[in-house]
Every structure is written in C-alpha cells, then in structure tokens.
C-alpha cells in the first residue's frame, strides 16, 4: 500500500484551472519533486496536501486515512516556506519547540527534542538567538528543524532555497537531502530549478499548465522525456524538423542529409522533429553513426563547457563540449561535421 496518495486532484480558482487530474502515489521515505515553470500549479498542489487549499474535486489519503477535508492543523504534515516564516517574536529554540508546545508535550520532552533537532541542523549554539539575528540559510535550517520537530508523516517544501544565494543554496540542498535520508521522511519538494530536482529527487513530477507531463526518476526524465515540453524544460535540447523517409526503420531527412532515429513511436506521416541533446553531439564524421554537416555560427564559453552553435540546413543546432585546454575550437563561419549515436536521438 502506498503512503501518500493523490487521486484525481483538481483545483479551480473561479474560472481559471490551477491543477487538473493530478494523480500520484508516493512511497514511504520517498523524495519527490514537483518541477515546472512558474504558474504551473506546483504550489497549489502542495498547498492542497498541506490543507491550505481545498481541492475542487479529488481525494488525498495518507496511510489510507482520507485527509481531503482535514484542517491543516490536524494533518501532521510539516511545511517549509520560501520566506522561512519563522516567528519573529520567538527564539530559535522556541520556534523549533512551538509545535510540541501546541501538542501539549511536557517541558523536558520539548527541551530534549529541540536539542536533538538543533544538533541535526548543526545549530546548537544558536538556540537563544532571534530569527533576525540569523542569516537566510540559518533561518531556513531552523524552519526545517521546526517542521521536523513534530515528527510529521510528510514534509512539504515550497521552493525553500530560492531566496538564498547560489553557494548557500548548494550547501543547503545537500543538507536537506542528508537529513531527509537520515530521518527517512517522505518529502515533497517544489522547485522550478531543474538542477535541484535532478540532483535531489528519487522521482520527479514534471508539470505544465496544471497537468502532469511526466513522472519518473531523474534519469528517465532527462534521458527519456515523454513529451516535447519535458524535453525542452529539463536540460537543453535540439529539435530539428525532419521529413520521414521510412517509418519502419526510423529513417528521416533533414534537407539532403539522412538520419536514423533511435526511438520513435507510431508515426502518422505528419511533420515530426528529431530530438538530440547538445552533449551527445561530437565534432567529426564517423561511419555507422548519424552525421551532419553545417557551418559554425557562434562559440560561447559557459565555464566548464563550451557551446557551439551550428547552422545545418537552415536550422540552428547546439553542440556542447567540455572546456579542456587542449581543445581546438572551431571558429565562426568555418564548416564543421558532427556525429551522434543513433540511440541518442528520438522522434517527437
């Protein structure tokens, strides 16, 4: 039996639909991310799980218990907000212990649990500080400890790192994952940052316009995107409009150049596109693989990689190479041949 179950969830605000037909079942201890562009309904879905929004229709169950209409303060679900939302009038220790105080736990037990939680986030020394005396990253760690102190059945995080700067974000990301593993707590993590979702999650739910586009492990999402939206939203992708030559063999034509697609569904003769990630392309010509000839349009340094844009048959194609010192980079305007494996491309 699964742990957290979202069944046909639907939410409208007036006439606008925020979430539609959302189905998901989450296993105990699983780390699931909701990933999607702004306004796709991630927060709304999370808030329905937390109880801050009532679904227009659908059911939410936790360990078989129907939670759909349970008020948020009776759900035993921990929540971490983008804005930290620490209580400004309470110290770190009081913040962390607040949920236990509300639950009427004895003082000694609260103190012990607060100690334990502060140790978990490595902030024992800050117990007596007020939130305004902490950095953003520290505040968010306290917020995490506060949410976890009540031993919730599910931990919900809504873009917890997006108010922090890049370095702290990276650090705290690892910390969240470590704590989540250590406690084995079921976690739902909302983000619009694909790197965050890919690096943290057991499974990712990619959403667009209120609907689930794909649910899968990070590898599945990246390597086998189910829809054009997922392919474009997660990572970079080249999409080349091609003509089908032989539907049975997956042979397609781009201008005068013939390519073979690794994966293709039922082709109904309509114009299709060939998808291939920039890092799958390599300069040079290799027999037996897909080859394309083009002309270099631009060369851009992106730190550890170099992105080369090629013009091929009137279309732009991106190619990523590691930025190694011995690399001899082509110059703009030069002709360039590239190759990529058949398995690395597919038809959409």
């Amino acid at each position: 039996m699964s742990h957290l179950e979202l069944i046909h969830l639907h939410k409208s605000f007036g006439h606008s639909v925020a979430v539609q037909d959302f189905n998901l079942s989450v296993q105990p201890g699983e780390f699931v991310s909701f990933l999607g562009p702004s306004g796709c309904g991630k927060t709304t879905t999370l808030r329905m799980i937390a109880g801050f929004e009532l679904p227009t229709s659908g059911v939410i169950t936790l360990d078989g218990r129907d939670l759909t209409y349970t008020p948020p303060n009776k759900r035993n679900v921990g929540m971490v907000f983008q804005s930290y939302a620490l209580f400004p009038n309470m110290t770190v220790a009081q913040n962390v212990g607040y949920g236990l105080k509300i639950a009427g736990k004895p003082k000694a037990e609260i103190a012990a649990r607060v100690q334990q939680m502060l140790a978990l986030i490595q902030m024992e020394k800050f117990a007596a500080r007020y939130p305004y005396q902490l950095s953003g990253g520290q505040q968010q760690r306290v917020a995490l400890a506060r949410a976890l102190a009540i031993r919730p059945q599910v931990l919900l995080l809504d873009e917890p790192l997006s108010a922090l700067d890049a370095k702290i974000r990276l650090e705290l990301r690892q910390e969240i994952r470590r704590i989540q593993r250590q406690l084995g707590i079921t976690t739902i993590y909302v983000t619009h940052d694909q790197e965050e979702a890919l690096s943290l999650s057991d499974r990712i739910v990619v959403m667009s316009q209120g609907k689930i586009e794909q649910v899968g492990t990070p590898t599945e999402i990246y390597n086998e995107p189910a829809t054009e939206f997922v392919a474009q939203f997660v990572g970079h992708i080249n999409l080349l409009p091609v003509e089908i030559l032989s539907p049975a063999e997956g042979l397609v034509r781009l201008g005068n150049q013939v390519l073979r697609a690794g994966r293709f569904g039922h082709l109904n003769g309509k114009a299709v596109r060939l998808a291939v990630r920039p890092e799958e392309l390599n300069p040079g010509r290799v027999d037996g693989l897909n080859n394309l000839s083009g002309r270099v349009e631009s060369v851009t340094y992106l730190g550890s990689i170099v992105r080369i844009r090629l013009e091929v048959e009137g279309h732009l194609l991106a190619l990523d190479m590691f930025n190694e010192r011995r690399l001899k980079l082509p110059r703009s305007g030069e002709p360039l041949d590239v190759h990529f494996p058949v398995e690395a491309c597919w038809l959409l």
Binding site: A50, N73, F87, Y132
Partner: protein
Amino acid sequence: MNARRSNFWALFWGALAILYFFLPLYGTLDFSLRMKRGELSLQAYQIVFSDPRFWEGFRYSTLMALITIVISVLIFVPTVYWLHLKVPQARPVVEIITILPFIIPAIVYVFGLIRTFSRPPLQLTLSPFTTDILIVTGYVVISMPYMFRAVDVGMRAIDVRSLTEAAQSLGSNWFQILAHVILPNLRIAILSGALICFATVMGELILASFLVRPALGPYMALLGLTKAYEPAALAIISYALTWFSLGLIQLISRGGTAQQFTGR
C-alpha cells in the same frame, strides 16, 4: 553657492514652521504663568489641580479611553488580520470606511447617535451607564482611523499569511495563532494605536458635551468660557499629556526596532 542658498531656504522655512507651531504655544504658556500680577507663578495650575471637577473629568475620560482602547483592539486586530489573510481585495472599501470619521463631522455623528438611541427600541440615553456605553461606541468610531491604520501598518511589516500557515501546520488553532504569533508581533503597532486613541479620547469635546457626561473636554470648554488664566493652564496640561503619549510611542517603537520587531 547653490547648496548654500538651498541651505538658507531650508533654515528659513524650518524657522517659520517652528514659529508657527510654537509661538501660540509659548504665548499660552506665558499667559498661564501670569495669574499673579507682575510675577510668574503656577497659581493657575494650582487652581486647576485643586478643582474636583478637573479630577472627575480626568478620571472619567481616562476610564473611557481605556475601555475604548480595549474594545478597539478586540475589534480591529482580528478584523485587520482577516482582511490581510482572507479578503485583501476588500481593502479599498475598508479603507474608505475607516476614514469616514474624518469626513463626517463629529457634530453630525453625535446628532445621529442621539436621534437613534434616545427612543425605543434601544433607548440608551436615559441612564448614565447606558449613555457611557453609547459614548464608548462613539469613541471607538472616532478613533477607528488611527487604530485601524496602526494595526494595518504593523500587520504589513510581518508576513501574516506565511506565519499563519506555519503556525497552522504546526497544529495551532485560530485562537493560538492570534495569541502566540500575531499579537506578540503587533505589540508596538497596537501600543502606538492605543496611545493615539488615548490622546483623542482625552481631548474629545463634542460627544461628551452633547451626551452630557463629565469628561475632560466639556470641563475645558466650560472653563474657557468663564475664566481667563486657568484654561491656558489646562491647554498646556493637555498638550503635555498628548506629547507625553507621543514621546512614549517614540520610545517604545525605538526600543522595539532595536529588538526583534523590525519584521523580517
């Protein structure tokens, strides 16, 4: 040279403003000290302070002010909280309602009160106690613009929605959220609202005199008609009271900022 010229004008207007505000005050103060011919004395003040009617008015107004403050807080904190949390789109309407006491003259308002509540079904003007109920409701309305704004500003400084939701997800009910999270973070705002409310009620004349209650305002007015030096002394006393309240607001809110009450 440009800077020097603008400096000069700044000083000039500043000085003019100070003269405008303080000259009458100085005149009043000076006058209030000249009851004894040819020397400065506090005699006018002594007379005021030894008048039992002054103390009665002072006591009455203070009591009414305190009751007004308690009721205002009980009404406006939950109302503004709800406004922020659930119906932010109603803000323009509510803002207009709260400034109505500035727009409708108090005299019109008090006649409305008297006409409505001096006949059945709700005849409140018969006994002093029920009249006090009426006057307190009137004071709550008159001080509404100040109280509403003070609480509103305080509420804006904290992230009401997230704090509420955080408390909720930790198991708090509405009462606990208000008591543990919202009220403590609004202490400064409520205090400054309360002090302005206090100053307003202490000086209020029209409601008290038309409803014929022994408040400080009517006493001052009466004294003004019959005496010369004592009203001046009284004016200075009430100024001092107001300024004391304002000073207290400053002091408390400064202490607050130095502590945890800057919000985020």
